[in-house]
């Protein structure tokens, strides 16, 4: 990329360059393509134009168009021993805006999806409380509730890339994330109901599935912004997302958002259970390991173009887009580069901007058919700037699995095909 010129967004300059290169007439105005002949999509009567479509109850819940059948979560078979204790990935390159449709939110289960009759589900609060309590789902729906938009990212998202680029698809490198409007009861209200004793400084949420998922969470976070959610994007939680009740732990690693939540114990010390000792600790190069690395660092990725979403249209106006998020606040700014980091441009932020939520960014440019090295760099509201993968490796070594928020690079070739690469 040594010959890569400084990028300019000026359409006039681009056209002038193109004119020199190709000898085409540069009129100062874009010439629209001329059809070789009449388009049958216009000149021929289409069936949907003539015959009746399906009636109102053909799909009582609704399903996506059959032409979108490729837009699905996908599994990487070699990653895990079976598909029960496993993970699949959100197709980020097929999505727009900031909300992930419920049916596309990535799944991670440790003992499969628990199928729970809400009439039989209970939430118990016990331990260091004045009054240990049991709630039915009906009880919980009588508490005041709130609506909040948060991302949920697995700490292992992008974890396969610590030693170098590995998977060719943003779905697989960055798809362990989703962003959803949760409706639920602030955990604070439920803890107040039971009366936390003065020495109650930690909670242990526990799942009702066959893995009995547990994590230790400090009381400060529990009282701050955690909630027990019953709904996502307006509908009841999906079974694979913890129906009928899940914990929401904004900005913190997804493993802590206990699904099928059945119990919360209050204690005076952390439990050091399997997920916070054996897993979700960050092994550094010297053999020492960080524990309780809860917050998700600011991160961004370009979703289009990307290996699963190549540039098929050839040179000309091109829309680059992606998402950014931070476990510590909002994303006021994202920079993008087309030349692997020599020159950066400020992307255009679009859509709602919520705390600990996904943010959508765009960068429109005229592609001249030259190979590109695309990157995005998130700035969060604390002033933190997303580091390069090499900057992270300098601090953490190569033996980490979790919290890889390094800058991602896609190489675009002359044909518009994209590939997962690293640059230096």
């Amino acid at each position: 990329m040594t010959d890569s010129p400084k990028f300019t967004q000026s359409r006039r300059q681009f056209l002038a360059g193109a004119a020199v290169a190709t000898g085409a007439a540069a009129t100062g105005k874009f010439a629209h393509a001329q059809a070789a002949g009449p388009d049958p999509a216009i000149t021929q009567m289409q069936p949907w134009q003539q015959y009746l479509g399906a009636g109102v109850d053909a799909a009582p819940y609704g399903v996506p168009s059959p032409h979108e059948a490729h837009v699905v979560r996908r599994n990487v078979e070699w990653l895990t021993a079976d598909t029960v204790s496993s993970v699949n990935f959100t197709p980020l390159h097929e999505l727009e805006g900031i909300i992930t449709p419920n049916g596309l939110c990535f799944e991670r289960h440790h003992s499969g999806v628990a199928e729970i009759d809400p009439g039989q589900h209970r939430l118990m609060i016990n331990g260091l409380v004045d009054n240990p309590l049991v709630f039915t789902m009906e009880d919980l729906m009588r508490f005041p509730r709130e609506n909040r938009t948060y991302f949920l990212e697995c700490a292992a998202n992008t974890g396969m890339e610590w030693r170098g680029s590995q998977l060719n698809g943003v779905q697989f490198t960055h798809g362990m994330i989703h962003n959803v409007v949760y409706t639920g009861v602030p955990l604070r209200l439920i803890l107040e109901e039971a009366g936390v004793r003065t020495n109650g400084s930690w909670i242990l949420p526990e799942g009702a599935d066959a893995s009995g998922m547990t994590r230790s969470i400090p009381m400060e976070k529990a009282l701050d912004d955690c909630m027990v959610a019953t709904h996502m994007n307006g509908e009841r939680l999906r079974p694979e997302q913890g129906y009928p009740l899940r914990l929401v732990v904004p900005g913190w690693e997804g493993n802590m958002w206990v699904k099928w939540l059945r119990r919360i114990e209050v204690g005076d010390a952390p439990w050091h259970h399997r997920e916070e000792t054996s897993k979700y600790t960050d092994l550094l190069a010297d053999g020492q390991a960080r524990r309780f690395t809860w917050e998700m660092d600011a991160k961004s990725v370009i979703t289009n173009p990307s290996p699963q979403a190549p540039i098929l249209h050839g040179p000309g106006p091109t829309v680059l887009t992606g998402v950014a998020w931070s476990g510590r606040g909002t994303i006021p700014r994202v920079d993008v580069t087309l030349d692997g980091g020599i020159n950066w441009h400020r992307a255009r932020m679009s859509g709602p901007s919520f705390d600990k939520s996904m943010h959508r960014f765009y960068f429109e440019f005229d592609w001249d058919g030259r190979p590109l090295l695309l990157q995005s760099r998130a700035h969060d509201s604390t002033g933190y700037v997303q580091p390069t993968k090499d900057q992270l490796r300098e601090v953490r070594g190569l033996n980490s699995i979790y919290h890889n928020n390094g800058i991602q690079t896609w190489a675009i070739n002359e044909r518009g095909e994209a590939e997962n690469v690293e640059v230096g």
């Binding site: 029960v84 016990n126 009054n131 602030p186 109901e193 050091h272 054996s278 760099r377 590939e419």
Partner: protein
């Protein structure tokens, strides 16, 4: 009067919209009076968590020898005979001195900081697919065996609630609290370079070299080019074909059996590529002698039934599925049994439909 009321309502609505994202749900003095007091036996039933300081640990004990037997029965199908693991299931033993290597092996012995974590997890989530089916003494024994596999104790060791807290794990001191605030947040901050930040940039690594990305299924699943007329014809065809009754096992029974199979699936496999797991694979079982699959370690009770000439047929399978422990006492299946003869008939139909018939 009416007009004033409407106006003020509108103002309130506007205000609450403006602060929708920030306005927290209200607390209430003395609480909401919702829920009910948890009974002591309810808390006892669910409060199973164990802490490093021993909180939650039940009275009990188990030795390495007993643990080895249990481990081979319940754990070795996934974790290997010596904790070395099968396939991509977790390795449980060894790995000492590798944590600062290029290829660190994070096992119970080399990495886990506390023994209580092992007890809690084995009891809470293992065996895979039959969670919380182990007695407390069995958990002590399996944990003792895992300690033996990790060279922490001799083969005559017995673990109990009394000596539990004396057992220190080798890697306990290698963990420290998240220090990103000091080591990273301030380093990765400030206004970054925007122009001419490097002289040249080269590609240093490519994902295509590894070629591990799942192939795209787009062509197989999405057919944007398919004509709507063809799609419509397909719908009509499907509707017309429906009333014809297919031959073979009652599909309703098979479907009911498929739903029930979930309870079996974590220990048993059936169909193409099925292998022995915690339980034997069930291909070629119906009509075959009890306990006759090669390569599976059957319990003495099953070996006896095999020697006595017992064969799996409707009668024996129904009796076994309804009451596994009562019908063949001393066998190792953790399952409590199906609820009704209808369920047993459905399960048998499903097993036979999936390749369960002996050749």
């Amino acid at each position: 009067m009416m007009k004033t009321l409407t106006l003020s309502t509108a103002l309130v609505v506007t205000a609450s919209f403006a602060f929708a994202q920030e306005n927290p749900a209200p607390s209430r003095e003395g609480g909401f009076g919702l829920g009910r007091t948890a009974l002591p036996e309810e808390i006892a039933a669910w409060d199973i968590d164990i802490r490093p300081d021993g909180q939650g640990l039940p009275v009990g004990s188990g030795d390495v020898y007993t643990g080895e037997e249990l481990y081979i029965d319940y754990c070795s199908a996934c974790h290997g005979d010596f904790g070395e693991a099968v396939g991509r299931w977790p390795v449980l033993a060894g790995g000492f001195g590798t944590l600062d290597d290029e290829d660190p092996h994070k096992t119970i012995g080399s990495y886990w900081p506390y023994l209580s974590t092992v007890w809690d997890y084995v009891h809470r989530a293992m065996p895979y697919g039959a969670a919380q089916s182990l007695e407390d003494d069995e958990v002590y024994a399996i944990v003792a065996y895992l300690m033996y596999l990790n060279n922490m104790v001799d083969d005559d060791f017995e673990l109990s609630n009394e000596n539990f807290l004396e057992m220190a794990m080798p890697n306990e001191d290698a963990f420290f609290m998240d220090d990103r605030a000091a080591t990273e947040l301030t380093v990765f901050a400030g206004e970054p370079c925007m122009e001419n930040c490097a002289e040249s940039i080269e590609i240093t690594a490519r994902a295509t070299v590894l070629n591990v990305t799942p192939e795209s299924e787009e062509e197989a699943t999405a057919t944007p080019e398919a004509t709507p007329a063809a799609a419509a014809a397909e719908v009509v065809e499907t509707a017309a074909a429906e009333p014809e009754a297919p031959a073979g096992p009652d599909p309703e029974l098979v479907a009911a059996g498929e739903g029930l199979w979930r309870q079996c699936a974590s220990c048993h496999q059936i169909g193409e590529g099925a292998t022995n797991r915690t339980g034997p694979m069930l291909n070629n079982t119906y009509g075959a002698p009890v306990g006759s699959h090669e390569g599976f370690r059957y319990s003495p009770a099953f070996a006896e039934a095999n020697a006595a000439g017992m064969v799996w047929d409707d009668e024996t399978l129904t009796a076994y599925l309804l009451d596994p422990r009562g019908f063949i006492p001393g066998n190792r299946m953790a399952f409590r049994g199906l609820r009704s003869e209808e369920d047993a008939a459905a399960m048998i139909a499903y097993i036979r439909a999936e390749g369960g018939d002996a050749e």
